[in-house]
Symmetry: C2
Subunit: 243 residues, 2 copies
Protein backbone atom coordinates (compact mmCIF):
# COMPACT_ATOMS: atom_id res chain seq x y z
CA UNK A 1 0.00 0.00 0.00
CA UNK A 2 1.27 3.45 -0.92
CA UNK A 3 0.32 6.83 0.48
CA UNK A 4 -1.33 9.92 -0.97
CA UNK A 5 0.99 12.75 0.09
CA UNK A 6 -0.13 16.30 -0.52
CA UNK A 7 2.78 18.74 -0.52
CA UNK A 8 2.08 22.41 0.15
CA UNK A 9 4.25 24.36 -2.30
CA UNK A 10 4.21 27.71 -0.53
CA UNK A 11 3.65 31.10 -2.20
CA UNK A 12 5.50 30.49 -5.48
CA UNK A 13 9.26 30.79 -5.00
CA UNK A 14 10.46 27.13 -5.06
CA UNK A 15 13.03 27.89 -2.31
CA UNK A 16 10.14 28.71 0.02
CA UNK A 17 8.75 25.19 0.05
CA UNK A 18 9.59 23.12 3.10
CA UNK A 19 12.60 20.82 3.27
CA UNK A 20 10.19 17.88 3.54
CA UNK A 21 8.07 18.89 0.53
CA UNK A 22 11.22 19.54 -1.51
CA UNK A 23 12.56 16.04 -0.80
CA UNK A 24 9.23 14.29 -1.41
CA UNK A 25 8.75 16.08 -4.74
CA UNK A 26 12.30 15.41 -5.97
CA UNK A 27 12.02 11.69 -5.23
CA UNK A 28 8.40 11.18 -6.36
CA UNK A 29 7.67 8.61 -9.08
CA UNK A 30 4.01 9.69 -9.44
CA UNK A 31 2.83 13.25 -9.19
CA UNK A 32 -0.60 14.89 -9.64
CA UNK A 33 -1.70 18.54 -9.76
CA UNK A 34 -4.74 20.62 -10.62
CA UNK A 35 -4.71 23.05 -13.51
CA UNK A 36 -7.00 24.88 -15.89
CA UNK A 37 -7.46 23.14 -19.23
CA UNK A 38 -4.78 24.19 -21.71
CA UNK A 39 -2.64 25.99 -19.10
CA UNK A 40 0.71 24.79 -17.71
CA UNK A 41 -0.69 25.26 -14.18
CA UNK A 42 0.84 27.23 -11.33
CA UNK A 43 1.61 24.19 -9.14
CA UNK A 44 3.42 22.44 -11.97
CA UNK A 45 5.35 25.59 -12.82
CA UNK A 46 6.66 25.92 -9.24
CA UNK A 47 8.27 22.44 -9.37
CA UNK A 48 9.74 22.91 -12.87
CA UNK A 49 13.27 21.44 -12.91
CA UNK A 50 12.77 19.50 -9.67
CA UNK A 51 11.07 16.32 -10.90
CA UNK A 52 12.79 12.97 -11.45
CA UNK A 53 13.46 12.18 -15.14
CA UNK A 54 10.96 9.32 -15.37
CA UNK A 55 8.21 10.76 -13.21
CA UNK A 56 4.59 9.91 -14.13
CA UNK A 57 2.50 13.08 -14.22
CA UNK A 58 -1.27 13.39 -13.77
CA UNK A 59 -2.69 16.78 -14.71
CA UNK A 60 -6.12 17.07 -13.08
CA UNK A 61 -7.75 19.55 -15.46
CA UNK A 62 -10.74 21.44 -14.16
CA UNK A 63 -13.84 21.02 -16.30
CA UNK A 64 -14.63 24.28 -18.08
CA UNK A 65 -17.39 25.93 -16.06
CA UNK A 66 -17.09 29.63 -16.88
CA UNK A 67 -20.59 29.68 -18.39
CA UNK A 68 -22.18 28.47 -15.11
CA UNK A 69 -22.78 30.54 -11.95
CA UNK A 70 -20.56 29.13 -9.19
CA UNK A 71 -23.54 28.62 -6.85
CA UNK A 72 -25.71 26.75 -9.39
CA UNK A 73 -26.47 23.06 -8.91
CA UNK A 74 -25.03 22.26 -12.36
CA UNK A 75 -21.70 23.83 -11.43
CA UNK A 76 -21.78 21.97 -8.13
CA UNK A 77 -22.49 18.58 -9.70
CA UNK A 78 -19.91 18.96 -12.50
CA UNK A 79 -17.19 19.82 -9.98
CA UNK A 80 -18.31 17.14 -7.53
CA UNK A 81 -18.00 14.43 -10.23
CA UNK A 82 -14.63 15.82 -11.25
CA UNK A 83 -13.34 15.45 -7.67
CA UNK A 84 -15.08 12.05 -7.29
CA UNK A 85 -13.38 10.72 -10.42
CA UNK A 86 -9.94 11.91 -9.44
CA UNK A 87 -10.34 10.62 -5.89
CA UNK A 88 -11.05 7.19 -7.36
CA UNK A 89 -8.12 7.34 -9.76
CA UNK A 90 -5.73 8.43 -7.02
CA UNK A 91 -7.04 5.76 -4.67
CA UNK A 92 -6.25 3.17 -7.37
CA UNK A 93 -2.78 4.55 -8.00
CA UNK A 94 -1.98 4.63 -4.27
CA UNK A 95 -2.63 0.90 -3.93
CA UNK A 96 0.78 0.17 -5.42
CA UNK A 97 2.95 3.20 -4.68
CA UNK A 98 3.16 6.67 -3.12
CA UNK A 99 1.59 9.45 -5.12
CA UNK A 100 2.45 13.09 -4.46
CA UNK A 101 -0.27 15.71 -5.01
CA UNK A 102 0.94 19.29 -5.42
CA UNK A 103 -0.94 22.21 -3.88
CA UNK A 104 -0.05 25.92 -3.97
CA UNK A 105 0.27 27.64 -0.59
CA UNK A 106 -0.90 25.54 2.35
CA UNK A 107 -3.15 22.57 1.44
CA UNK A 108 -5.62 23.11 4.34
CA UNK A 109 -6.02 26.86 3.72
CA UNK A 110 -8.56 27.23 0.88
CA UNK A 111 -6.63 24.50 -1.00
CA UNK A 112 -8.13 22.43 -3.84
CA UNK A 113 -6.58 19.27 -2.40
CA UNK A 114 -9.13 19.37 0.44
CA UNK A 115 -11.80 18.16 -2.01
CA UNK A 116 -9.76 14.98 -2.58
CA UNK A 117 -8.78 14.77 1.09
CA UNK A 118 -12.37 14.54 2.34
CA UNK A 119 -13.27 12.01 -0.37
CA UNK A 120 -10.25 9.79 0.33
CA UNK A 121 -10.88 9.43 4.07
CA UNK A 122 -10.68 5.73 4.93
CA UNK A 123 -9.83 4.82 1.33
CA UNK A 124 -6.12 5.64 1.28
CA UNK A 125 -3.32 6.51 3.68
CA UNK A 126 -3.21 10.31 3.62
CA UNK A 127 -0.38 12.65 4.54
CA UNK A 128 -0.36 16.44 4.26
CA UNK A 129 2.79 18.57 4.34
CA UNK A 130 1.92 22.16 5.26
CA UNK A 131 3.26 25.08 3.24
CA UNK A 132 3.75 28.81 3.65
CA UNK A 133 0.33 30.28 2.76
CA UNK A 134 0.24 32.58 -0.27
CA UNK A 135 -0.77 35.52 1.94
CA UNK A 136 2.37 35.07 4.08
CA UNK A 137 4.58 35.28 0.99
CA UNK A 138 2.64 38.38 -0.09
CA UNK A 139 2.98 40.27 3.17
CA UNK A 140 6.66 39.36 3.25
CA UNK A 141 7.34 41.06 -0.09
CA UNK A 142 5.72 44.33 1.07
CA UNK A 143 8.69 44.60 3.45
CA UNK A 144 6.39 45.69 6.30
CA UNK A 145 5.54 43.53 9.34
CA UNK A 146 1.93 42.31 9.21
CA UNK A 147 0.75 41.97 12.82
CA UNK A 148 1.95 43.28 16.20
CA UNK A 149 0.95 42.77 19.82
CA UNK A 150 -2.80 42.30 20.13
CA UNK A 151 -3.69 43.01 16.49
CA UNK A 152 -6.73 41.20 15.12
CA UNK A 153 -6.18 39.83 11.61
CA UNK A 154 -9.11 38.92 9.36
CA UNK A 155 -8.99 36.99 6.08
CA UNK A 156 -11.93 37.61 3.74
CA UNK A 157 -12.75 36.66 0.15
CA UNK A 158 -13.32 39.41 -2.41
CA UNK A 159 -16.34 37.42 -3.59
CA UNK A 160 -18.32 38.48 -0.47
CA UNK A 161 -21.05 41.17 -0.64
CA UNK A 162 -19.69 44.71 -0.33
CA UNK A 163 -21.37 45.55 3.00
CA UNK A 164 -20.09 42.36 4.65
CA UNK A 165 -16.59 43.14 3.35
CA UNK A 166 -16.73 46.69 4.74
CA UNK A 167 -17.98 45.42 8.11
CA UNK A 168 -15.03 43.00 8.46
CA UNK A 169 -12.61 45.70 7.30
CA UNK A 170 -13.89 48.07 10.00
CA UNK A 171 -13.69 45.49 12.78
CA UNK A 172 -10.15 44.23 12.17
CA UNK A 173 -6.64 45.67 12.51
CA UNK A 174 -4.77 43.67 9.85
CA UNK A 175 -6.63 42.55 6.73
CA UNK A 176 -6.12 40.01 3.97
CA UNK A 177 -8.48 39.97 0.98
CA UNK A 178 -8.12 36.91 -1.26
CA UNK A 179 -9.97 36.04 -4.49
CA UNK A 180 -9.59 39.60 -5.68
CA UNK A 181 -9.85 38.98 -9.47
CA UNK A 182 -12.88 40.81 -10.86
CA UNK A 183 -13.82 42.07 -7.39
CA UNK A 184 -11.15 44.76 -7.16
CA UNK A 185 -13.49 47.74 -7.65
CA UNK A 186 -15.86 46.39 -4.98
CA UNK A 187 -12.93 45.74 -2.61
CA UNK A 188 -11.71 49.30 -3.15
CA UNK A 189 -15.17 50.72 -2.33
CA UNK A 190 -15.46 48.56 0.80
CA UNK A 191 -11.99 49.65 1.99
CA UNK A 192 -12.94 53.28 1.37
CA UNK A 193 -16.16 52.85 3.38
CA UNK A 194 -14.11 51.33 6.21
CA UNK A 195 -11.55 54.15 6.06
CA UNK A 196 -8.75 51.71 5.16
CA UNK A 197 -8.10 52.38 1.48
CA UNK A 198 -4.99 54.53 2.04
CA UNK A 199 -3.35 51.70 4.00
CA UNK A 200 -4.10 48.96 1.46
CA UNK A 201 -1.55 47.21 -0.73
CA UNK A 202 -2.09 45.01 -3.78
CA UNK A 203 0.40 42.15 -4.19
CA UNK A 204 0.28 40.18 -7.43
CA UNK A 205 2.25 36.91 -7.78
CA UNK A 206 4.10 37.59 -4.51
CA UNK A 207 7.57 35.87 -4.33
CA UNK A 208 7.36 34.92 -8.05
CA UNK A 209 9.75 36.40 -10.64
CA UNK A 210 7.08 38.72 -12.10
CA UNK A 211 5.66 39.93 -8.76
CA UNK A 212 4.11 43.38 -8.45
CA UNK A 213 3.72 45.24 -5.15
CA UNK A 214 1.78 48.52 -5.12
CA UNK A 215 -0.38 50.78 -2.98
CA UNK A 216 -3.95 49.98 -3.98
CA UNK A 217 -4.85 53.68 -4.13
CA UNK A 218 -2.10 54.28 -6.68
CA UNK A 219 -3.27 51.80 -9.30
CA UNK A 220 -6.36 52.00 -11.43
CA UNK A 221 -6.89 48.37 -12.43
CA UNK A 222 -10.28 46.91 -11.71
CA UNK A 223 -9.21 43.34 -12.43
CA UNK A 224 -6.26 41.53 -10.85
CA UNK A 225 -4.66 38.19 -11.78
CA UNK A 226 -5.66 35.03 -9.89
CA UNK A 227 -2.64 35.18 -7.58
CA UNK A 228 -3.33 38.63 -6.16
CA UNK A 229 -4.01 39.62 -2.58
CA UNK A 230 -5.03 42.91 -0.99
CA UNK A 231 -3.38 43.57 2.39
CA UNK A 232 -3.68 46.10 5.18
CA UNK A 233 -0.96 45.82 7.83
CA UNK A 234 -1.72 45.91 11.55
CA UNK A 235 -0.08 48.56 13.63
CA UNK A 236 -0.55 47.27 17.20
CA UNK A 237 1.09 47.90 20.53
CA UNK A 238 4.86 47.56 20.72
CA UNK A 239 7.74 48.82 22.89
CA UNK A 240 8.70 52.13 21.32
CA UNK A 241 12.11 53.71 21.64
CA UNK A 242 11.90 57.01 23.56
CA UNK A 243 12.70 60.03 21.34
CA UNK B 1 29.07 44.92 4.41
CA UNK B 2 27.13 41.89 5.57
CA UNK B 3 23.41 41.39 5.83
CA UNK B 4 21.01 40.77 8.69
CA UNK B 5 18.98 37.77 7.54
CA UNK B 6 15.99 36.74 9.59
CA UNK B 7 14.96 33.14 8.92
CA UNK B 8 11.42 32.08 9.76
CA UNK B 9 11.68 28.63 11.34
CA UNK B 10 8.10 27.49 10.84
CA UNK B 11 5.94 25.79 13.49
CA UNK B 12 8.59 23.63 15.17
CA UNK B 13 9.37 20.54 13.08
CA UNK B 14 12.80 21.37 11.51
CA UNK B 15 11.73 19.69 8.23
CA UNK B 16 9.01 22.32 7.88
CA UNK B 17 11.40 25.23 7.50
CA UNK B 18 11.93 26.45 3.96
CA UNK B 19 14.74 25.19 1.75
CA UNK B 20 16.22 28.70 1.81
CA UNK B 21 16.10 29.06 5.60
CA UNK B 22 17.57 25.58 6.01
CA UNK B 23 20.54 26.43 3.78
CA UNK B 24 21.16 29.85 5.35
CA UNK B 25 21.10 28.39 8.86
CA UNK B 26 23.41 25.46 8.03
CA UNK B 27 26.01 27.76 6.47
CA UNK B 28 25.74 30.65 8.97
CA UNK B 29 28.88 31.73 10.84
CA UNK B 30 26.96 34.08 13.17
CA UNK B 31 23.53 33.35 14.54
CA UNK B 32 21.26 35.18 17.01
CA UNK B 33 17.97 34.24 18.67
CA UNK B 34 15.67 35.42 21.43
CA UNK B 35 15.05 33.35 24.51
CA UNK B 36 13.89 33.62 28.10
CA UNK B 37 16.73 33.89 30.61
CA UNK B 38 17.91 30.46 31.72
CA UNK B 39 15.95 28.59 29.05
CA UNK B 40 17.39 26.83 25.98
CA UNK B 41 14.89 28.76 23.83
CA UNK B 42 12.46 27.35 21.29
CA UNK B 43 14.16 28.88 18.24
CA UNK B 44 17.53 27.47 19.23
CA UNK B 45 16.00 24.07 19.94
CA UNK B 46 14.48 23.87 16.45
CA UNK B 47 17.91 24.26 14.80
CA UNK B 48 19.68 21.81 17.15
CA UNK B 49 22.07 19.65 15.10
CA UNK B 50 21.95 21.96 12.07
CA UNK B 51 24.57 24.57 12.98
CA UNK B 52 28.14 24.70 11.65
CA UNK B 53 30.73 23.47 14.20
CA UNK B 54 32.33 26.87 14.76
CA UNK B 55 29.23 29.03 14.66
CA UNK B 56 29.15 32.13 16.87
CA UNK B 57 25.91 32.23 18.84
CA UNK B 58 24.20 35.29 20.33
CA UNK B 59 21.39 34.48 22.76
CA UNK B 60 19.26 37.61 23.11
CA UNK B 61 17.82 37.02 26.57
CA UNK B 62 14.65 38.90 27.43
CA UNK B 63 14.97 41.01 30.57
CA UNK B 64 12.87 39.49 33.35
CA UNK B 65 9.65 41.49 33.42
CA UNK B 66 7.10 39.16 35.03
CA UNK B 67 6.62 41.57 37.94
CA UNK B 68 5.53 44.42 35.61
CA UNK B 69 2.16 44.78 33.85
CA UNK B 70 2.75 44.50 30.10
CA UNK B 71 1.08 47.84 29.41
CA UNK B 72 3.07 49.81 32.01
CA UNK B 73 5.60 52.41 30.92
CA UNK B 74 8.36 50.64 32.89
CA UNK B 75 7.75 47.41 30.99
CA UNK B 76 7.70 49.34 27.75
CA UNK B 77 10.96 51.18 28.42
CA UNK B 78 12.83 48.08 29.64
CA UNK B 79 11.86 46.15 26.52
CA UNK B 80 12.53 49.11 24.23
CA UNK B 81 16.12 49.45 25.57
CA UNK B 82 16.58 45.70 25.23
CA UNK B 83 15.64 45.88 21.54
CA UNK B 84 17.65 49.11 21.07
CA UNK B 85 20.78 47.48 22.50
CA UNK B 86 20.49 44.35 20.39
CA UNK B 87 19.74 46.35 17.25
CA UNK B 88 23.01 48.22 17.83
CA UNK B 89 24.97 45.07 18.49
CA UNK B 90 23.61 43.35 15.40
CA UNK B 91 24.24 46.44 13.28
CA UNK B 92 27.88 46.31 14.42
CA UNK B 93 28.21 42.60 13.69
CA UNK B 94 26.66 42.99 10.24
CA UNK B 95 29.34 45.49 9.20
CA UNK B 96 31.78 42.63 8.62
CA UNK B 97 29.67 39.55 7.84
CA UNK B 98 26.16 38.11 7.44
CA UNK B 99 24.32 37.42 10.66
CA UNK B 100 21.30 35.10 10.74
CA UNK B 101 18.52 35.84 13.23
CA UNK B 102 16.19 32.95 14.04
CA UNK B 103 12.46 33.48 14.47
CA UNK B 104 9.77 30.87 15.18
CA UNK B 105 6.88 30.74 12.71
CA UNK B 106 6.82 33.60 10.21
CA UNK B 107 8.93 36.65 11.18
CA UNK B 108 6.31 39.24 10.08
CA UNK B 109 3.39 37.52 11.86
CA UNK B 110 3.59 38.59 15.53
CA UNK B 111 7.33 37.82 15.42
CA UNK B 112 9.87 39.24 17.88
CA UNK B 113 12.29 39.97 15.04
CA UNK B 114 10.02 42.83 13.91
CA UNK B 115 11.28 44.90 16.86
CA UNK B 116 14.82 44.66 15.46
CA UNK B 117 13.60 45.03 11.88
CA UNK B 118 12.01 48.44 12.46
CA UNK B 119 15.05 49.65 14.42
CA UNK B 120 17.55 48.49 11.78
CA UNK B 121 15.86 50.28 8.85
CA UNK B 122 18.55 52.20 6.97
CA UNK B 123 21.27 50.93 9.33
CA UNK B 124 21.85 47.46 7.85
CA UNK B 125 20.95 45.44 4.79
CA UNK B 126 17.91 43.43 5.87
CA UNK B 127 16.50 40.24 4.45
CA UNK B 128 13.55 38.24 5.76
CA UNK B 129 12.81 34.63 4.82
CA UNK B 130 9.14 33.81 5.49
CA UNK B 131 8.16 30.69 7.40
CA UNK B 132 5.07 28.54 7.89
CA UNK B 133 3.16 30.35 10.67
CA UNK B 134 2.69 28.39 13.90
CA UNK B 135 -1.11 28.41 13.37
CA UNK B 136 -0.68 26.68 9.99
CA UNK B 137 1.33 23.88 11.59
CA UNK B 138 -1.34 23.60 14.29
CA UNK B 139 -4.33 23.31 11.96
CA UNK B 140 -2.39 20.79 9.90
CA UNK B 141 -1.98 18.42 12.87
CA UNK B 142 -5.72 18.45 13.61
CA UNK B 143 -6.09 16.56 10.30
CA UNK B 144 -9.07 18.74 9.32
CA UNK B 145 -9.04 21.39 6.55
CA UNK B 146 -9.17 24.91 8.02
CA UNK B 147 -10.99 27.08 5.46
CA UNK B 148 -13.25 26.42 2.46
CA UNK B 149 -14.88 28.54 -0.25
CA UNK B 150 -15.88 31.94 1.13
CA UNK B 151 -15.04 31.26 4.78
CA UNK B 152 -13.92 34.26 6.83
CA UNK B 153 -10.97 33.48 9.11
CA UNK B 154 -10.13 35.67 12.09
CA UNK B 155 -6.97 35.59 14.21
CA UNK B 156 -7.36 37.01 17.73
CA UNK B 157 -5.17 37.12 20.83
CA UNK B 158 -6.40 35.47 24.03
CA UNK B 159 -5.23 38.59 25.87
CA UNK B 160 -8.22 40.58 24.49
CA UNK B 161 -11.24 41.41 26.69
CA UNK B 162 -13.84 38.63 26.83
CA UNK B 163 -16.64 40.54 25.09
CA UNK B 164 -14.38 41.57 22.17
CA UNK B 165 -13.25 37.94 21.84
CA UNK B 166 -16.85 36.69 21.78
CA UNK B 167 -17.80 39.33 19.18
CA UNK B 168 -15.02 38.22 16.81
CA UNK B 169 -15.87 34.56 17.43
CA UNK B 170 -19.50 35.20 16.45
CA UNK B 171 -18.64 37.13 13.30
CA UNK B 172 -16.15 34.69 11.77
CA UNK B 173 -16.31 31.19 10.27
CA UNK B 174 -12.82 29.90 11.02
CA UNK B 175 -11.03 31.08 14.17
CA UNK B 176 -7.49 31.13 15.50
CA UNK B 177 -6.83 32.21 19.08
CA UNK B 178 -3.18 32.79 19.90
CA UNK B 179 -1.55 33.82 23.23
CA UNK B 180 -3.77 31.38 25.05
CA UNK B 181 -1.56 30.80 28.15
CA UNK B 182 -3.40 31.97 31.26
CA UNK B 183 -6.39 33.11 29.19
CA UNK B 184 -7.81 29.66 28.52
CA UNK B 185 -10.80 29.94 30.90
CA UNK B 186 -11.74 33.32 29.39
CA UNK B 187 -11.36 31.94 25.83
CA UNK B 188 -13.61 29.00 26.74
CA UNK B 189 -16.30 31.36 28.10
CA UNK B 190 -16.11 33.57 25.01
CA UNK B 191 -16.41 30.54 22.70
CA UNK B 192 -19.40 29.33 24.72
CA UNK B 193 -21.07 32.75 24.44
CA UNK B 194 -20.47 32.65 20.66
CA UNK B 195 -21.86 29.09 20.40
CA UNK B 196 -18.51 27.78 19.12
CA UNK B 197 -17.09 25.85 22.09
CA UNK B 198 -18.08 22.40 20.78
CA UNK B 199 -16.15 23.03 17.56
CA UNK B 200 -12.96 24.29 19.22
CA UNK B 201 -9.63 22.45 19.35
CA UNK B 202 -6.59 23.11 21.50
CA UNK B 203 -3.24 22.37 19.86
CA UNK B 204 -0.14 22.52 22.04
CA UNK B 205 3.35 22.44 20.47
CA UNK B 206 1.87 21.53 17.06
CA UNK B 207 4.34 19.58 14.80
CA UNK B 208 6.81 19.17 17.71
CA UNK B 209 7.60 15.73 19.18
CA UNK B 210 5.51 16.34 22.33
CA UNK B 211 2.48 17.86 20.56
CA UNK B 212 -1.01 17.51 22.01
CA UNK B 213 -4.22 17.85 19.99
CA UNK B 214 -7.55 17.82 21.82
CA UNK B 215 -11.11 19.07 21.70
CA UNK B 216 -11.18 22.10 23.99
CA UNK B 217 -14.43 20.94 25.60
CA UNK B 218 -12.80 17.66 26.62
CA UNK B 219 -9.94 19.10 28.63
CA UNK B 220 -10.14 20.92 31.92
CA UNK B 221 -6.85 22.85 31.94
CA UNK B 222 -7.13 26.56 32.52
CA UNK B 223 -3.52 27.26 31.59
CA UNK B 224 -1.81 26.20 28.36
CA UNK B 225 1.89 26.29 27.41
CA UNK B 226 3.25 29.23 25.40
CA UNK B 227 3.04 27.34 22.10
CA UNK B 228 -0.67 26.60 22.23
CA UNK B 229 -3.40 27.71 19.86
CA UNK B 230 -7.17 27.36 19.96
CA UNK B 231 -8.75 26.65 16.55
CA UNK B 232 -12.23 26.45 15.09
CA UNK B 233 -12.35 25.13 11.53
CA UNK B 234 -14.44 26.78 8.83
CA UNK B 235 -17.03 24.71 7.08
CA UNK B 236 -17.83 26.76 3.95
CA UNK B 237 -19.36 26.07 0.57
CA UNK B 238 -17.91 23.19 -1.46
CA UNK B 239 -19.03 20.84 -4.23
CA UNK B 240 -20.67 17.93 -2.43
CA UNK B 241 -20.98 14.44 -3.82
CA UNK B 242 -24.64 13.51 -4.35
CA UNK B 243 -25.75 10.71 -2.00
Amino acid sequence: MGRVICCGLGPGDPELMSVRADRLIRTASHIAYFRKKGRPGQARRIVEGMLAPNVNEYAMEYPVTTELPFDSSDYNSILASFYDDWAERIEDLARARDIVVLCEGDPFFYGSFMHLFVRLQGRAQLEVVPGIPGMTGCWNVTGVPMTWGDDVMTVVMGTMPEDALARHMTGSDALVVMKTGRNLAKIRRALEAAGRLDDAWLVERGTMPDQRVARLSEIEDNVSPYFAIVLVHGNGRRPETAE
